[in-house]
């Protein structure tokens, strides 16, 4: 008898999602899907608003990565204004974005995923959480909390608020950095290094225990995309996108925010409110790619900071070519956090960082503009159109989670097929399926920003688990 297993809600994720796994009469997994079940509507209700309100409005999409939205949105607005922001403002924004990356990665790794890694995939769900981690490995729990505080406190020092700071505006930032704040950030850096060292050291010790998971956690060849500098080093705020194939060869590069919309398309599947991004020349689903920490480290040739450089070299040893298992998102995340701390330290030593000129002004000079940045979980693109008075007429946002959507679905199916045999499964097995999704650190609230008639699939399952009826809308 065919059966549908539903994991709802998927826990330790940002937002609401569920997983369904379809079994055939023999109890074998035929398919599995990751569904995003909420809907927001940001693209629709931004219409009619003045474009310069967009950064603060769009930042409200997410409480974890508001900074990414602030930056991508401000850059789209600057394209409309046709201005280049002052050097100091660009550096301050870069620091803000890195601080957010560190805190978000700390949340993903220590709060959401370390319970699986420390306590085990099969551990009692009652203790398989950050409190369980704090009890079992207090020093690691403290390190995670410390790293999150490090990132959040920098955001607060720069933007006066930990969440949704209003400091990033089209044209730059609202106020320059005060010397006292710079010194306060510098004073936090040694502790951040110590905390991260603890995390990386511990991860490397235990990673090899997870060999079976590494093999089936979305472990397949794919394309990868991320921002990169001209010198092929990692970039989160400026630069242009590069897309590589499964062998690591560059397929396309120099993808600026405005070119992005020409080469990236979005497909819709009936089971999710999140769209599926793909590289247009290869079509859907062949043009599906991965973004985020794993993709970024696969793309770059260097980190540009000494400590992270060594870690990158070690990471590159994991595979001959791009690292394919999504389990290694965890590893990549730790390397990126190290880079973030080092880069923040570097930016603060910039002699112009306290400069008072941090904002450029202009009106509407173009009727269309795009901006892109790397959110912690991957590339983010905002694309706006305005009328001659600067009022929004249209918006489209392409979010990291949409770009990883295909890989997440394939990964969920891969793990489910591997672990579920003869229709038998345990809580620990289902947790592994959830853990596949967790490696991507998807942000579901970000991913369902779109508007319009959403396709919806309704599955009616009898008490015996039989699919009785199915209604498809969309």
């Amino acid at each position: 008898m065919s059966q549908t297993i539903t994991i709802d809600p998927v826990t330790r994720l940002e937002g609401h999602g569920k997983v369904t796994i379809q079994l055939n009469d023999q109890g074998e997994v035929t398919d599995a899907h990751f569904h995003v079940t909420q809907v927001r509507g940001f693209e629709r209700f931004s219409e009619g608003r003045p474009f310069y309100e967009m950064p603060s409005l769009m930042a409200r999409i997410c409480g974890i990565c508001p900074v990414s939205h602030l930056i991508a949105s401000a850059k789209a607005c600057e394209a409309i204004m046709s201005v280049r922001i002052p050097h100091t403002a660009a550096q301050l924004r870069r620091m803000l974005n890195l601080a957010q990356m560190v805190q978000s990665h700390a949340l993903s790794f220590f709060y959401l995923s370390s319970p699986d890694l420390i306590l085990g995939m099969e551990a009692d769900p009652k203790v398989r959480n950050i409190l369980g981690v704090a009890a079992a490995k207090p020093e690691l729990g403290r390190a995670g909390i410390g790293l999150r505080r490090f990132g959040q406190h920098i955001i607060e020092l720069l933007g006066n608020k930990r969440i949704h700071p209003g400091w990033v505006v089209p044209g730059g930032v609202t106020e320059p950095l005060a010397q006292a704040k710079r010194d306060e950030i510098l004073a936090m850096i040694p502790e951040a290094y110590a905390n991260l060292g603890l995390g990386i050291g511990w991860y490397k010790q235990v990673a090899e225990n997870f060999k079976p998971e590494i093999d089936v956690f979305a472990n397949f060849p794919s394309l990868y995309m991320g921002l990169i500098n001209e010198d092929e080093s990692i970039e989160f705020t400026d630069g242009a996108l590069r897309l590589i194939d499964a062998q690591g060869n560059t397929i396309d590069e120099g993808i600026t925010a405005s070119k992005y919309n020409e080469v990236i398309g979005e497909a819709v599947e009936p089971y999710s409110y999140t769209k599926f991004a793909y590289y247009k020349p290869l079509g859907y689903p062949d043009g599906s790619y991965r973004v985020g920490p794993l993709a970024r480290l696969n793309i770059v040739k260097s980190m540009g900071t000494p400590k992270a450089e060594k870690e990158l070299a070690e990471f590159k040893q994991l595979a001959n070519g791009p690292v394919e298992s999504s389990f290694y998102y965890h590893h990549a995340r730790l390397v990126e956090m190290l880079y973030g701390i080092e880069k923040i330290e570097q930016i603060l030593s910039d002699p112009l960082i306290l400069d008072k000129h941090v904002r450029a002004t202009a009106g509407v000079n173009r009727l269309e503009g795009s901006g892109q940045a790397e959110a912690p979980r991957g590339t983010l693109n905002h694309h706006y159109r305005v009328d001659e008075n600067g009022k929004m007429t249209w918006a489209n946002l392409v979010i990291a989670t949409g770009q990883n959507n295909n890989a997440m679905n394939k990964g969920v199916a891969q793990a489910a097929k591997h672990y579920i045999k003869d229709g038998k499964f345990s809580e620990g097995i289902l947790n592994r399926v959830e853990a596949v999704v967790r490696t991507f650190d998807p942000c579901l609230s970000c991913s369902t920003h779109a508007y319009g008639q959403m396709p919806l699939i309704l599955t009616l399952v009898s008490s015996q688990g039989e699919v009785v009826d199915q209604v498809v809308r969309g």
């Binding site: 009619g48 608003r49 603060s56 949704h164 209003g166 609202t174 008075n389 600067g390 009022k391």
Partner: protein, 237 residues
């Protein structure tokens, strides 16, 4: 005592105070350090008693009077704080919030808004009335300023500042009751109106309805304190 006497004595919140004939209750209260919440009133502009936030109780009268336009009389006993007044003030605020689209979190005036501050002062935690969510326009045609009618509370400070201080009278009110809206000239776009671009209306606006495009994004403090000074200097000339 006859009404011709220049100095009046009265009681505000149990405190004996003296005032000059023709002074409003609000003026006398503030001279004596007694706070009465206001929204449409602004030092330097005439008073219209539009918002009713400054309602006070007068002994011997069932009617509540707006302190900004009610003048003092001899022996008057005024109460500025009571449960009844608190209830009315909060209801007024709730109606203001429900009437149009006030979304503090994404407003340019978030943290610098008199309506928001009053809501906080009066302990407003939620709105019991259904939101009207009207579809109101944003006029961004002016080269320097924007008017967002969603955030307008019809206090008419802009109308008074433009007419009384700038002398241009570009702003006025169109329509009646809940359908009222502030307009420039004869309901032309602000950008093509006879506006002198002085920006006084923006500075006196208590909310984010009128704002400066160069202060885009959030964090838009207003500085209406120049008005009494401006009046003083003009009188001195």
């Amino acid at each position: 005592m006859s009404d011709a006497v220049e100095v009046k004595t009265l009681i505000i919140d149990g405190e004996e105070v003296s005032a000059l004939r023709g002074q409003t209750i609000l003026e006398v209260a503030r001279e004596n350090g007694i706070d009465i919440p206001t929204l449409c009133h602004l030092d330097g502009l005439s008073d219209v008693g539009a918002c009713r936030m400054c309602l006070v109780e007068i002994k011997g009268s069932n009617k509540l009077l707006p302190a900004c336009v009610a003048t003092v009389f001899e022996g008057m006993e005024v109460t500025t704080k009571s449960e009844r007044l608190q209830k009315h003030r909060r209801t007024i605020l709730e109606m203001l919030f429900a009437e149009r689209n006030h979304i503090c979190s994404v407003c340019v005036s978030n943290g610098n808004c008199e309506l928001q501050s009053l809501g906080q002062e009066q302990g407003l935690t939620h709105i019991r009335l259904p939101y009207r969510n009207p579809e109101l326009p944003v006029d961004a045609s002016h080269e320097r300023y924007t008017v967002d009618h969603n955030r307008c509370i019809l206090c008419t400070r802009c109308v008074r500042a433009c007419a009384e201080i700038e002398g241009a009278h570009v702003w006025d009110v169109m329509g009646r009751g809940i359908n009222s809206i502030v307009i420039t000239d004869l309901h032309e776009e602000w950008g093509s109106s006879t506006c002198t671009k002085c920006g006084k209306c923006v500075q006196v606006c208590p909310t984010g309805a009128l704002y400066d495009k160069s202060k885009i994004g959030v964090d838009h403090p207003k500085n209406p304190d120049f008005l009494p000074y401006l009046n003083l200097m003009r009188e001195a000339q």
